[in-house]
Symmetry: C2
Amino acid sequence: MEHRIERIKKQLHAQSYKLTPQREATVRVLLEREEDHLSAEDIYLLVKEKAPEIGLATVYRTLELLSELKVVDKINFGDGVSRYDLRKEGAAHFHHHLVCMECGAVEEIVEDLLEDVEKKIEDEWQFQVKDHRLTFHGICRKCQQKNNANN
Amino acid sequence: MEHRIERIKKQLHAQSYKLTPQREATVRVLLEREEDHLSAEDIYLLVKEKAPEIGLATVYRTLELLSELKVVDKINFGDGVSRYDLRKEGAAHFHHHLVCMECGAVEEIVEDLLEDVEKKIEDEWQFQVKDHRLTFHGICRKCQQKNNANN
DNA sequence: TTATTATTTGTTAATGATTATCATTAGTTT
DNA sequence: AAACTAATGATAATCATTAACAAATAATAA
Ligand SMILES: [Mn+2]
Ligand SMILES: [Mn+2]
Ligand SMILES: [Zn+2]
Ligand SMILES: [Zn+2]
């Protein structure tokens, strides 16, 4: 944890930004809830527990900044809000998601499944891939079992 | 064109919805601009040229309805608006996109590049895939050439 | 140190996309 | 025609995000 904060601090300094207490508190929340996919509002409420004086705009600003630094990725699952997702340490590409259409659960896939596809895109479409977004919509394991039980 | 409208009409009737003049005008705009990725507002302005009396809310309602019927897919490229994209006729899955980070151009890939990946997801994650969203972010052919010329 | 300048923050107001409300219209069924 | 239902258009409401701006904080110069 401290290790990752140190690294983010360095990334900020490299662009001559500072790791202010507000920014640190925000990063800590993101680290603590790494599995989740929190909205700005969610994050704001959690940061408030650590730093009650923080303002919502600061959280938005921090998340924007962390997006620029590619510390977080901003995603949209189609409900009306943006969600912020910590990049896996050292990952070149954004990880994938499995979204259950029944229960809404979101599972992460860290393994990069798109290497072959990207090669194809670069070769056949002459498009130079920098990053990707991949989400599967379907039925999660739990819901499949639940459905089978009720039949 | 007429053929596709007929088919959409049948899909609507199958759920006992009607193809009203407003809905038809909206569908016609979507067909005429099939390559594009229009926002609700964009579509509203285009429909107004055919049917000036139409209201914005009706356009939203129609797009919502067409989404339910899977005639269109609602997507979000990260600017603040939802965009609506006609499904390719008979396609089981949503097509892919290449978004240029420099000029913003959006290219479509109709070929399904994810069959192997989906098989893997189903086998190794026990997740039953119904659909997917795949977008690549990078540099389009044109911008690559432009960049090379300037070096 | 003190004065000056640049960053960052919190509060608040503004914006802009989407949704809800509701009276009106069009279409169907008796 | 009367009664009922579905769909529409105008408008107001909602809600996430951004902008504005004065106050606080940190960095730098004098
Ligand atoms: Mn994730
Ligand atoms: Mn498309
Ligand atoms: Zn589920
Ligand atoms: Zn380009």
